[in-house]
Symmetry: C2
Subunit: 277 residues, 2 copies
């Protein structure tokens, strides 16, 4: 959707490592915004984006106007059920139908062999993966790790909405995820306790409007009853005028420093951005 | 869906005229049948189908089992709204979602440059065309004329359900369409009068269960209020155990013998099966 940041650049870098021709799409897709959401004020910076693309070595930028993407009488939608009942899907009705439909269109227009998505939008990634598998779309989806600021805040175009005070508060999302991960590593298996801890960390930092603080199955996006395997910790929190999301994949069985959130944080802080394939 | 007849062969012939490699799919798609419909007894004849394909010069037959086409946890569907509210869409809830989804999958698996569909399933054709346009699927859809028996009955795999007495009754569909077309050519502009005539012709022949006898816009599939341009006359009638559909495109402005239904009938009877592109 443009307003490119280092998270997007990490996707470009992954694409350039793997492939021979890199296409980047910029399209602020109206159909994935609700009527009360930020479609109109969503940050747009085509000149800045094109500079970033040129510097990062993108071969083609596909930035169609809305009327090229959608016929006035378009009536076709792609729906990925179940996965979209929870988390952002529950708070943003129609959002993932808009995402799935526009991604299906972009894939058909660009016809890439591989498409790169950030792990930061974990539910979107799961929805796209499922759509590609279910509709037999002829491409591979590669997830790239969330890129973070030195203090842990996940990069997002919507961070531009944050005042300096909001920006300080916003670090609570990643802090809540890390503390929850530590609690799981220490043996906690009750998702309600883990979710409660995340809410507590967030509220203590200031933000009061938490859309969700959930412990879900990473494939189905459904809440788990007990933490018995890898889980996704997922947050959506309103900070000032921005609705921020973040998530962390936690495997309670994994050991060693590579799986510890502190390590992930320092990886992000030192700019390590390997594509996880 | 297999149970191939001369209508399907006309599609193969059109594909072979246009292209260099012809793929035919055979898949009785469970998701486009309602719970009370004929999925289980739908005619299947793989050996006969393969003979017809070999004779007609098909290069590849794609006949996947159901469990190859659908993952057990598949949740993705393609929906074409509005066009599917009327005609068969109104009588077969979920039918066109099943059709659109499986066609999207087949297109992505086979990746044809051109796909051929019979005009006999006019609403299906309109739905597929709209889906291809709306989702930017990279292929062209070509419609081929309905192939008919010498007495006008449109070829259909479901004609195999008809007893000899049913078979005689079944000619009433095309007779109703032709008489309605003549009435329009003679100046009738009221769709209700035209629909009434079709119902009368059908009931006089015996069939009592008419799902619809409609005069619709050929692009939107919505009922017209007045016949001011080309219209689609569309019928769905239960004859014995079979639910038969048929349709005729009528242009009230067109003149000359080429547009007269009698001519179309005799074309069909003499085996003319040109693909209309």
């Amino acid at each position: 959707m443009g307003a490119l940041h280092r998270g997007h650049v990490s996707l470009i870098e992954a694409a350039r490592r793997d492939g021979t021709y890199t296409v980047l799409s910029i399209f602020v897709n109206p159909t994935q915004f609700g009527p009360q959401e930020d479609f109109n004020k969503y940050p747009r910076d085509e000149a800045g984006d094109l500079n970033i693309c040129a510097e990062a070595g993108v071969d083609l930028v596909f930035a169609p106007p809305v009327e090229v993407m959608y016929h006035p009488d378009a009536v076709t939608t792609v729906r990925v059920a179940k996965l979209t009942d929870t988390l952002c899907g529950a708070f943003r009705p129609g959002h993932f139908e808009g995402v799935a439909t526009v991604c299906c269109k972009l894939f058909n227009i660009v016809q890439p062999d591989v498409a790169y998505f950030g792990q930061k939008d974990a539910q979107q990634l799961a929805v796209i993966r499922r759509m590609v598998r279910d509709l037999d779309l002829p491409l591979e989806i590669v997830a790239c790790p969330t890129v973070r600021e030195p203090d842990g805040l996940a990069l997002s175009s919507r961070n531009r909405y944050l005042s300096p005070a909001d920006r300080r508060q916003a670090t609570c999302l990643y802090r809540a995820l890390c503390q929850a991960a530590e609690r799981i590593k220490a043996g906690e298996r009750d998702p309600a306790a883990v979710a409660g801890l995340m809410r507590e960390v967030i509220r203590r930092a200031g933000p009061e409007r938490i859309d969700y603080a959930s412990v879900v199955d990473p494939a189905s996006m459904q809440p788990v009853e007990r933490i018995g395997g890898p889980v996704l910790l997922a947050l959506a929190v309103h900070v000032g005028p921005a609705r921020l999301i973040d998530n962390l994949l936690v495997d309670p069985g994994a050991t060693g420093p590579a799986a510890a959130p502190e390590q992930w944080l320092s990886d992000a802080a030192t700019g390590r951005r390997d594509a996880a394939r």
